[in-house]
Amino acid sequence: MGRILAVFSLIVAALVGVAFTDRPSPRADLTWIEPADFNTLDPQRMSHLPDFRIAYALFEGLLRWDTLSNDLHVVPAVARSWEISSDRLTYTFHLDPTAKWSNGDPVASADFAYTWQRALMPETGADYIKLFHLIRGAREFTEWRAAQLKAYAQRPESEKSPAAAQSLRDQTDRHFRETVAVATPDDHTLSATLVRPVPYFLDLCAFGPFMPVHPPTIERFTDIDPHTAALRQRQGWTKPPFLVCNGPYIVERWRFKREMRLARNPYYRDPSLARADTLAVKFIENQNTALLAFQSGAADWHSDLEVDYIGDLLAESRAGRRDDVRAFDAFGTYFWSFNCTPRLADGRENPFHDPRVRRAFALAVDKKAIVEQVRRGAERPATAFIPPGSIPGYHAPAGLPFDIARARAELEAAGWIDRDSDGVPENSAGVPFPTVEMLVTPVGSHKDVAQVLGRMWESTLGIRSKVVIRETKVYRASLKQRDFMVARGAWFGDYLDPTTFLDIHRSADGNNDRGFSDAEYDRLMTVAGNEPDPARRLLILEEAERYAMEDALPVLPIWHYAQYYLARPADRIGGLRNLSAHPRLIQYPFLLEVAR
């Protein structure tokens, strides 16, 4: 017995020792909760909203948005001023000479050129590489580099060596300088020429992937694979003490899934911009725990509350029993995708290939009922794809209403008529409408929405359906292989222009999961792309969206998203000031301030 006791006392002593050495830091000026740890702090690789949120605190692009304005216009950041050529193709930026990296190095125009080249290299894996292809010569550069890498990989082993790989890299750098229309006449001037006039290019200059990285730091963490000649970025440069950034804050400490702490960047050019001295991010995945943590005072803000009892919380809010649940319109739409290809994955004929069938299915849906009775949140029922009112000067189309008679008429016009009076419509060959498989992922309210949609379709059109639940990875693969009939979907806009939504319905777009290929839609989008007059361009895009939402229907929009925050009102003690209400919901952490 004594021996056992000895072993246990040892373990207990070790535990107590560990417990007392592992202490959390004191409370920061502003603490907020994110539901998951960041995917990456690398601006060129990121594509998640929370990643951008933290990146805006750490990095500074050429421009910044005025997030407290209604139209979210751009204001100077690293670029103090800029000019646009009369053909609206060439942008020249004049950089602030006092801008510095967090190690004291000056921020030079060459840093931007380096960063944009980095984004264009295929091996970097930039999710937003397409936005960089708006620069003249950029797309060709990426293709050239990909071809060179392929040719290198096929060389005999004797012709591969670190020196040969390095030589290809030098050649690539030269090729970029010679062929891509990004110029750095001096340290504080940067110019870029575009392939066509892009009305939202300034908006992109404020967008995360265009923010600069510190070239010497990146180089320190990059090596060249002699077997493939590809640049290999090693991990670690995004973490302290290595991360060098040019925004208002630096990362003081980052402990995976526990906490990230930011402190002021001592070299930041405009110290008065940032309100709080220290910021802390807590990562709490379980939303019930996150709610309890906020209520117990552990944080000042929860950036993304996603609970299925959100309706009850909002009701408590309306009844005046709580003031910390805040709903904002977001820049995204929840929809259902129709598989628009002629045949289903198993070779059967696809009834949804016919736009009349898609229209019938859309007309049969009472979106207001879904939003109010299933979702029970602050979402707005959607008849258009782009959230109305989110883009200045752009007017959303009316879309299709909830109209049972018209839904039945459309289905009949498509040849689906209940010929044998069994309640299910048949086509002219007497084949009944197949059971509609509704593809969802297991999280959230997708399954509930699917069941309600199915009931609406059955009662209006007589068509049966069943819900197919697949894990997210499988669901994504099914979409890519068009192995579905209808599937839940969502899209959030990236920049302040209708094309950020409308591009995904173009035939060749990589995010077109529906296999939607419509000559008229593609034509309208191309015409809009070539239209020099911004106002006329918006009109053409409005027509494209109207065509997609009233005639062609690649997707059935259900609601425009709302985003839920936990934050006390700005006028109370502990309340959060300077939250942006613009649907893009860009919350610069450096602007946020807790009322004390």
């Binding site: 246990f8 560990v18 402990r255 725990t289 943590a293």
Partner: protein, 323 residues
């Protein structure tokens, strides 16, 4: 004892290799694109193929061999011996990068989460031992009494109630209503207490039943009657004489219980936001985070094998009758 340890240590790499191979086949068969973020944007084909080539995702056999070469420490050994081509890799056992958390390597993820799970798991087992032995002894001393009934019922509740119910109830009770402790933080000793109690309850319940049965058997034995007859104080009889034998089944249960407590705490980790290793078992598979799946499995199988070895050694040491 020494031959046993040696034999087990020789078996270890073979067991781990078998686990690695099976995991590799299963992970490779998972549907979905590993290098893509689910909610991210779809990059063009040349970007995708460049990324796949970088991680050998286009060539399963190369991936299998290369990963084994890095993870087993062979690469580190070879590079260190050669020494010529620059510095050796950062880690002896290089488990690769995470696809989902791109700024972290699997080594870092495990280094930050494994100690947390060990501390939480061992704390839970110690609490379970204290609760379980106490309840078991009380129940055995007065079998079929109200006390016995009460402890058995509590044990039943401990086994039946899922962790997220007990965990949420404890969170509501202590930090939210009473203001004791905090929600969703990790680091202070008080932060460990609530999750450890939640995690300990099913183990405590099992230990209580094992102890009660063991004690009931032993308490009627002749040598206990002798001890009482020679006038020993009742506590000494129970703790020194009876418990010594009644404890053996508990001890053999402790080995697997420790392993389970350290790795099977996924639910408790979620409720209390504990940054332990349990999350990786579930999340990595959902994300098809290949290197995390492989790395965590390798570490876990190595740990489990060593743990069983430790239990066997401890058992022989405590009970010399077993050889």
């Amino acid at each position: 004892m020494i031959p046993l340890i040696l034999r087990r240590l020789i078996q270890l790499p073979l067991i781990v290799l078998a686990v690695y191979t099976v995991t590799f086949v299963l992970a490779w068969a998972l549907p979905g694109e590993a290098v893509l973020n689910d909610e991210g944007r779809q990059p063009p084909a040349e970007v995708l193929s460049a990324l796949r080539a970088r991680y050998h995702l286009d060539d399963p056999s190369r991936f299998y061999v290369e990963y084994l070469y890095r993870a087993s420490g062979l690469m580190w050994t070879v590079e260190s011996v050669k020494g010529a081509s620059g510095s050796p890799p950062d880690h002896v056992f290089d488990l690769g990068p995470s696809f989902r958390y791109e700024d972290w390597s699997v080594n870092e993820l495990i280094a930050s989460s494994l100690p947390v799970s060990i501390v939480l798991g061992l704390s839970a087992i110690i609490i379970a031992l204290a609760l379980g032995l106490g309840a078991g002894i009380i129940g055995a001393l007065r079998p079929n009494s109200l006390w016995d009934f009460a402890t058995l019922s509590v044990a039943l509740v401990g086994i039946s109630l899922p962790g997220f119910v007990i965990g949420t109830a404890l969170l509501l009770m202590f930090p939210v209503w009473l203001g004791i402790g905090s929600v969703g933080s990790w680091g202070r000793p008080a932060d460990i207490l609530l999750p450890a109690i939640t995690l300990s309850l099913p183990f405590a319940a099992y230990i209580a039943r094992l102890t009660r049965m063991g004690m009931l058997d032993v308490l009627n034995a002749d040598y206990i009657r002798t001890a009482r007859a020679k006038g020993l104080a009742p506590p000494a009889v129970i703790l020194k004489h009876a418990l010594k034998n009644a404890f053996l089944p508990v001890l053999s249960y402790l080995g697997p219980a420790c392993a389970m407590a350290m790795t099977g705490s996924f639910v408790v980790e979620r409720v209390f936001n504990v940054p332990g290793i349990g999350q990786h078992f579930v999340a990595a598979v959902k994300n098809k985070d290949l290197f995390v799946i492989m790395g965590v499995t390798l570490i876990y199988s190595t740990m489990l094998t060593l743990f069983n070895l430790a239990t066997d050694v401890l058992y022989r040491w405590v009970d010399p009758r077993i050889s």
